[in-house]
């Protein structure tokens, strides 16, 4: 796991102390680890770690649905 993804995971775990770990394929939305109120802060966190602006209005929820999706969409080299 990249350092950036680990930091994203730590950010979520800090806000959900009842959880010990987050599997890469766990649905973050369905399990209410990210909801409409934490969404903005979460996207700013992603922006900070991937170093490019993210348009919230056009962002598809599926792009941040799991840690695996976040890794593929924001942190892998040559990403979209």
């Amino acid at each position: 796991m990249s350092e950036a993804l680990q930091q994203v995971k730590d950010w979520i775990l800090k806000r959900h102390p009842d959880r010990e770990d987050i599997p890469g394929d766990l649905d973050l939305i369905e399990n209410r680890l990210i909801d409409s109120l934490s969404f903005v802060e979460f996207v700013f966190l992603l922006e900070q770690h991937c170093g490019r602006p993210i348009e919230m209005e056009t962002l598809e929820v599926d792009a941040i649905r799991t840690l695996d999706a976040i890794d593929a969409n924001f942190f892998r080299a040559g990403v979209k």
Binding site: R15, I29, D35, S36, L37, E47, E57, V61
Partner: protein, 296 residues
């Protein structure tokens, strides 16, 4: 979404009648109300300094006068943009409920409310487009799980009330600030006048919806609702710290400044001032058991 009828009181009926009459008496044509000058002076503040997000921290002095002028322009465009999106979202919810069983009594006032809110949305959008050439994007994400109808109805109107009270803090101050230009003061003054009716109505309705929700769900759910609403309070306050605004104001590290300001304890006292009234209402009614706020 339908729920049992509202536990309507005589007081609620009296308030509704008074506010509906006032809405009719005070009715105005917003499309004729404003003199929109071609341009607003960029070499002065567009927002009262104590309402700017770096206020009360060393960043405020470090930015320099020119940057503060630019920041005040873009923070005001952000503030009016938040109004545009907030109103759009609340209209969707109220339109949805206007003739829904359970809302028969306030239905008539909803008609006034929807009409006035549509007009507010228009003049805020007009300000943004004329003087900022844009409306900042909405940050909403709709993917929450559903609550019981009594909880959902309560939360919709509690969110609307909080949003209106937060905005009203800004409107009241800017309407009174003689250092601001007439157009900015007028937009804020007119919005404040209409919103005082909506806030009075909102407080009555939210109190009734809270009573109905308390009768319908258990203690554990009530604590979840309190926790959600507190997070909504922080979410709303944080939306004023917009990195796109800092970028437009020419600040080198917009996201860095946002993180620093959101984390800066010196900002909490100023935020508390802006949310003092709705927080006191939530505490007085028992909606909040204490005034601690979470990190989101």
């Amino acid at each position: 979404m339908a729920a049992t009828a509202l536990p309507v009181t005589d007081r609620f009926l009296e308030v509704l009648e008074r506010l509906s009459e006032k809405a009719i008496e005070d009715y105005y044509n917003p499309y004729q109300q404003f003199d929109w000058p071609e341009k607003l002076d960029e070499n002065r503040l567009w927002m009262s300094p104590e309402l700017l997000t770096p206020y009360g921290t060393p960043y405020f002095d470090e930015l320099g006068e020119e940057t503060l002028h630019r920041l005040s322009k873009w923070e005001s465009i952000n503030f009016y943009s938040l109004n545009v999106h907030g109103i759009r979202e609340l209209l969707i919810e109220v339109v949805h409920r206007i003739h829904m069983p359970g809302f028969e009594v306030p239905s008539d006032f909803f008609h006034h409310f929807i009409g006035e809110e549509n007009e507010h949305m228009w003049f805020f959008a007009e300000f943004c487009r004329r003087y900022g050439d844009k409306i900042y994007a909405s940050t909403a994400m709709r993917a929450d799980s559903a609550w019981e109808p009594e909880v959902e109805n309560f939360l919709v109107f509690a969110r609307i009330l909080f949003f209106e009270e937060l905005v009203d803090h800004y409107n009241t101050r800017m309407a009174q600030d003689e250092t601001l230009c007439d157009t900015i003061r007028q937009v804020n003054r007119i919005h404040h006048q209409d919103e005082s009716r909506h806030i009075a109505f909102g407080r009555e309705l939210v109190s009734l919806l809270f009573t109905r929700m308390r009768d319908a769900v258990g203690e554990e759910r009530l604590r979840e609702v309190e926790s959600y609403l507190k997070r909504y309070v922080v979410f709303s306050v944080n939306s004023l710290y917009n990195p796109h605004v800092y970028r437009d104001a020419g600040i080198a590290d917009p996201l860095g400044l946002r993180n620093a300001l959101v984390a800066d304890e010196r900002r909490r006292a100023h935020e508390r001032k802006a949310i003092r009234k709705p927080l006191a209402f939530f505490l007085k009614t028992g909606i909040f058991s204490d005034d601690t706020l979470p990190v989101i």
